[in-house]
Amino acid sequence: MKNIFRIAVLGVLGLIIQSCGNGGSSDEKSGALTSNAADRVYVAPGEHDEYYAFLSGGYSGNLTVYGLPSGRMLKEIPVFSQFPTNGYGYSEETVPMLNTSFGFVPWGDSHHPDISQTNGELDGRWIFINENNTPRIARISLETFETEEIIEIPHSAGNHSSSFITENTEYVVAGTRFSVPYPQEDMAIDQMKGNFKGPLTFIAIGDDGKMSIDFQLKMPGFNYDLSHPGRGDSHGWFFFTTYNTEEAHTMQEVNASQNDKDFIAAVNWKKIQEYVQNGGGEEIDAEYAHNYFDHSTQSATTTMESKVLTVDPREVEGAVYFMPTPKSPHGCDVDPTGEYIVGNGKLSTDLTVHSFSKMLKAIENEDFEGDAYGIPILNFDSTLAGTVKEGGLGPLHTEFDGKGNAYTTFFISSEVVKWKLGTWEVLDRQPSYYSVGHLMIPGGNSREPYGKYMISMNKITKDRYLPTGPELEHSAQLYDISGEKMELLLDFPTHGEPHYAAGIPADKIKSKSQKIYRLDENEHEYAATSESETKMVRDGNEVHVYMTTVRSHFSPDNLEGIKVGDKVFFHVTNLEQDFDVPHGFAMIGANTSELLIMPGQTKTITWEPKKEGVWPFYCTDFCSALHQEMQGYVRVSGQNSNVPLKWTLDDEEIN
């Protein structure tokens, strides 16, 4: 009965919408379907989304978490940029996360998140993301949703063909987009050709997630744009698109677009791994930071590394081949079976698809059409599986639905095109608003995509939302891809400039999401795990304040004996062990940020008082009914005063 009523309502709605439309040709989507879209993205109050989507923040340097299909933003995870909202990159504990061989870098450009895998399927342990500008790779825990580790990539520039993961999370791979002298040296720019290199870095992942650079492959100085791992039969290989095989050093817009074909580099990393394990490769000088956040001490440390193992690809028989691919290919995408490698030739209308099995045959038959710097170039026709003709204009990226279909974004014609693997016929096209870059199907870079939803992430927003001045957030669209035709369901603004994204069914990770940090596991050097442990300690002009928070007071809340010229370290421990009861800490005139401290955590911020007086501090998070009362005073005396250190709560000295 309910269904009949529903159909009737939809029918009537359909009539109304159709009659309101401006004539509409007969093959247009019916009004009923359009109104149905609201139902399909509606997640009722208190209900949860079906998928997590992790969108890179681009020039925000961070990673944003969304729910699908609602398009609601759930969180921004700071990764490569300082984040005053919670003190990341400001607090003493997290400043080391942003250390590099160039010193402290407060900002980054995050591009391509990828979720860890086991047997080619998403396992939801960690998500990795690359920083393009000062080459780095970060690992984020999907239990705490916090950045745990950042490793700098030495000898790289423009860390763009990154951070893609092999099917058992053996490696996270980081390629070099801007070829550079390897290692860096002072030379004339126009001496680039033949002298610059494009190292590809293979970072091994331990069982605990810890990253270490296994080797760097010293490739010719092309621009390694994007990459993806092989899977299934092609597991053990990695594929990279290249452009600027012309090796132009200036006006690349024109000079890097002269060759009709660039390459997809096929790298047999298993062979190189073996070579390295048997003592192959050459250890060379390198300088790079390895930053690790330890959850027990809740503090990050930076280790400066000084060596990296480099491998000349020509030294390893059968390790690297080039597959000619037309028109400066951008995206390099491998289908779920691992057989097809798609080169998205961004200056054309066509897509070139290579066949892995044909590639193996061509290698066996030594079907080469030459070499580039000693690396064999395979015959174009002998690896070609097919061409998707006239898909659109400016293909960038392709994802797969696991049902034999592929979806490619076309930047210039601003659309997503669905086509069939094997027959290469175009099945459907839908506009995207506007100028789509990446697209994402949850599990898209794995053997098992979840082909229900697809999102497109666009570079141009223009009129999609209420105008907010010249600077706009980017827009994303959600499509239902469960049917024969793609259906646009939702349009939602995103934060920063999302490049790629990674999605995963919520059930795979939501039950593992941590609620609190355990106070009894807090091994922070300056933690006070009860009010009786709170104190002040002077060491020269440095004063360490061991402070606690609990609803709704600080301990201590009256502090005396601080002098102008001191450097005060507020080590604030949140004693709460209740879900979602953070406390904040803000000190007047502090030249840093606030702290936002989760239950059981200790965070530290510094303050250098410049003026005598009595200065207040307070809790910044509306923690409780008595939040407004959660405040305290610090007495600051003159430099030569002899006011003793004194810390009290309720006028009682604490210990």
Binding site: I516, V550, R551, Q577, D578, S624, A625, L626
Partner: protein, 204 residues
């Protein structure tokens, strides 16, 4: 009388469930606590349903000046109750065995049940007194001093049995497995008495 003795033994042994399972449970539900905070009341002490529930209940209660939830050392009941329950179970088993061998008659079983019922009621009265004290003996320096429409201080006493709204919380107070096992055991001892009585009557 054999059957009756066996029933008496089983009934008495079921009391020992109180050493494993909680007697009672109180849950506090509020908009901010969609997963309610809960405490399980055992005969030997009070434990949180989740690891930090007691700490969090205490944290919330300090606003209205309620005392902290007592530890076993702070309440004599948590030392005495296990002795009483253990003792009664042992006594019941002993009576059952004696009944099995026809040393004593079934009325001893009824006597045990009456004693157990009296002790049970005393226990409930004591528990209710504690709830009253816990809910009304408030810190005079309490942050929030709330009064009812007649100006009397509000009572935060959770109900002995049932659900009741207290400010933003709804308190649910219900027996748990330990209590159900005890009730079932007591019922069995009544059956034991009944069966025993019929058996002895049949013979006479």
């Amino acid at each position: 009388m054999k059957k009756s003795g066996i029933l008496m033994v089983i009934g008495s042994v079921l009391l020992l469930g109180l050493f494993i399972y909680p007697l009672w449970n109180i849950q506090l539900e509020a908009p901010q606590y969609p997963d309610p905070l809960g405490m399980n009341i055992y005969i030997s002490g009070i434990q949180g349903e989740e690891e930090f529930d007691i700490q969090n209940i205490d944290g919330i209660n300090h606003y209205i000046g309620m005392k902290k939830i007592p530890t076993p050392a702070e309440m004599w009941e948590f030392n005495t109750f296990p002795l009483v329950i253990g003792g009664m179970a042992a006594l019941g088993v002993l009576l059952g065995i004696l009944g099995f061998f026809k040393v004593i008659g079934p009325n001893w079983f009824l006597g045990w049940l009456i004693l157990m019922t009296i002790l049970g009621i005393l226990g409930m009265v004591d528990f209710n007194n504690w709830l009253t004290d816990y809910g009304t003996d408030l810190d005079p320096k309490a942050i929030m001093k709330l009064t009812d429409s007649e100006g009397n201080p509000l009572s935060y006493k959770p109900p002995l049995l049932g659900s009741q709204k207290i400010l933003n919380f709804t308190a649910h107070s219900y027996p748990r497995a330990g209590a159900y096992l005890m009730f079932a055991g007591m019922l069995l001892t009544l059956v034991a008495w009944w069966v025993g009585k019929k058996a002895t009557k049949g013979r006479s």
